[in-house]
């Protein structure tokens, strides 16, 4: 186990290095000169002298590698640069956004799991029953609905038709309901399909026959054995879904004007505020990598086999 974690940490260092490099390179696929973009974003007139001074200040006259490592040095100390628009540190802006994005993402994840886990398990246990068919139809539709479509439909039914809930999500519990549902429903579609498949796979394992032959109660078979053994896969599936959730939150936050990092990055894209975009991608990737590392380790804790079982 220690050896495994050590190996994964080594891998982590490499992946983070590559991620930082790619994020830095992202700036260089953008058309135009960064100094010019910065000055334009701040609404200053483009004067060749000012531009040259800005270029020097931003270190654009140095070679790529030097710039990368000086940027990386900043990143390691928590300095992601300043926004072109208001000159505030990117890290501060992202931290502010996170206080909105994290509750939204967690509530969406919680809702999705609260719906999908029982439905996925029930439809696997009562396979081919009426319940299973209904749950599967729900799952197929959830899978085929993009989150923005759900958001638009939810706004129509709850805000425009019935004005039960507010369209623009002010930072309140009520405001959180629609964005949460918009993110959770497509996630449910996928979770149910994957959880159901996982539980069915476990139910078909030979050891289940062994338990039944011994007269172990059905409840104990499902909760004690099937769930225990499939929890490793369920954790991995959930970890991977967080990546989708991060992308989805950009769309949903823009629709509901939820002031999280997703809306921040969309505003940054409109304003061509590249350090914010860069910081957003880097922070999301780092979080995602760390979550996946954690799920990998959890998987090993639950299922410590290496080459056992055919």
């Amino acid at each position: 186990m220690g050896k495994f974690i050590g190996k994964r940490l080594l891998q982590l260092v490499f992946v983070l290095f590559a991620v930082s490099f790619m994020t830095f390179a992202l700036m260089y696929i953008a058309p135009g000169d960064p100094a010019e973009r910065k000055l334009t974003a701040q609404g200053e007139a483009i004067d060749p002298e000012v531009l040259e001074a800005e270029r020097e200040k931003m270190g654009l006259n140095q070679p790529f590698v030097v710039r990368y490592f000086s940027w990386l040095g900043g990143v390691c100390t928590g300095n992601l640069g300043n926004s072109y628009v208001d000159n505030r540190p990117v890290i501060t802006k992202l931290a502010e956004g996170m206080t909105y994005t994290v509750p939204l993402a967690l509530s969406a994840l919680a809702v999705a799991l609260a719906i999908s886990l029982p439905l996925g398990i029930l439809s696997a246990v009562y396979r081919n029953s009426v319940l299973d068919v209904i749950v599967q139809i729900f799952s197929f539709i959830g899978n085929a609905l993009p989150n923005f479509l759900i958001a638009v439909l939810l706004i129509f039914f709850f805000c425009i038709q019935n004005s039960v809930l507010p369209v623009i999500a002010n930072n309140s519990f009520i405001g959180l309901i629609l964005p949460t549902l918009s993110l959770a429903i497509p996630m449910c579609g996928r979770f149910i399909k994957q959880f159901r498949g996982e539980v069915i796979e476990q139910l078909e394992k030979t050891y289940i026959t062994g338990l039944r032959v011994r007269g172990v109660k059905e409840k104990k078979i499902i909760f004690g054995n099937v769930l225990h053994n499939s929890s490793a896969a369920i954790i991995t599936i959930t970890g991977l879904a967080i990546g989708t959730l991060m992308g989805g939150s950009v769309v949903i936050e823009s629709i509901f004007r939820w002031p999280g990092v997703g809306k921040l990055v969309m505003d940054a894209i409109t304003a061509r505020d590249y350090p914010v975009i860069q910081g957003f991608v880097l922070v999301m990737a780092v979080i995602y990598v760390l979550i996946n590392l954690a799920t990998d380790i959890l998987y090993r804790v639950i299922d410590p086999r290496i080459d056992y079982e055919k």
Binding site: M22, I160, T244, M266, I277
Partner: protein
């Protein structure tokens, strides 16, 4: 006389049922493709013609799905958008599949430093949440369909590359490949004539399951204004344009929404059927 009723458990996928499913959904996919190709012919109105006289008309008569706030025929625009949505998804999946498969096959077959480097690159790309990277890349490059496809394509090839690499790697050590090498068959020929046909099925099945997802990604970027630029018709951007007037012209949102839901459902079912087919075949049928 007592009865001996007992249900026998449903057996695993039956070949016949999967085959019927595959035929039905292949036919539906074909129908969608045909509709999107002949869209310019069957459109009842010009999808781009604005008209102040026909603004915000309800469904019926000349405009089956009504008109939007610029007086454009929603039905014609949904048809015109079908081509963009379906073909951009199929094109992107096709290119990622081809590129990923070839790269993965070379990596698996030759191994060595190139293999290590490419696999580490895929590791790094997989570290990014796909949609997050796509939004950032499309946002930096500037919104248009080509950039949206590039933004999604950056990560989508890795799926096929990893799969193809793994399959090729295990195939490489089989005796018949060794025999081919000994008899002086060139590496290219071994790869494309002998390995590729053997690893093709799981790869194509994966590709088919990805079409629906890709469609969701592309329309998501278009919805954000990072894909297809209005006035060009695309379902995601149509929904975005019309949502501001949802109360006035709900049909302008509902039309593309339903088209999108049905199309993605059909492609998802088709992908599942192809995947199940390879599984059933894989069981020695």
């Amino acid at each position: 006389m007592k009865s001996f009723k007992r249900k026998t458990k449903a057996k695993k996928l039956s070949y016949k049922a999967v085959k019927i499913r595959l035929i039905i959904f292949s036919a539906l996919v074909a129908a969608l493709i045909v509709i999107s190709i002949i869209a310019p012919i069957i459109e009842p109105n010009d999808p781009y013609a604005t008209s102040s006289a026909n603004m915000r008309q309800g469904p019926g008569g000349q405009f089956p799905f009504g008109t939007d706030s610029l007086g454009r025929c929603v039905f014609s625009r949904v048809l015109a958008g079908a081509f963009t949505s379906i073909f951009s998804s199929i094109f992107l999946v096709g290119v990622s599949f081809a590129a990923g498969t070839i790269i993965g096959m070379f990596c698996g077959y030759y191994g060595g430093i190139v293999d290590t480097v490419i696999m580490r690159i895929t590791d790094a790309l997989l570290a990014f949440p796909q949609m997050v990277l796509a939004i950032a890349v499309a946002g930096v490059l500037g919104g248009n369909l080509t950039n949206a496809l590039i933004a999604i394509g950056i990560t989508s090839w890795t799926l096929y590359a990893r799969l193809a690499r793994g399959q090729t790697y295990s195939m490489k050590n089989e005796t018949f490949i060794a025999a081919l090498k000994l008899s002086g068959v060139s590496n290219m020929r071994i790869m494309f004539r002998h390995i590729l046909p053997n690893i093709f099925r799981p790869l194509i099945a994966t590709a088919c399951t990805q079409i629906g997802t890709t469609m969701i990604y592309i329309s998501g970027l278009s919805f954000l204004g990072l894909g297809v630029i209005p006035p060009a018709a695309e379902w995601g951007s149509m929904i975005n344009e019309a949502r501001g007037y949802f109360q006035l012209t709900p049909w302008a949102v509902i039309g593309p929404s339903i088209a999108m839901l049905i199309t993605i459902l059909i492609f998802n079912f088709f992908g599942d059927a192809v995947r199940d087919m390879t599984e059933v075949r894989g069981n020695g049928r």
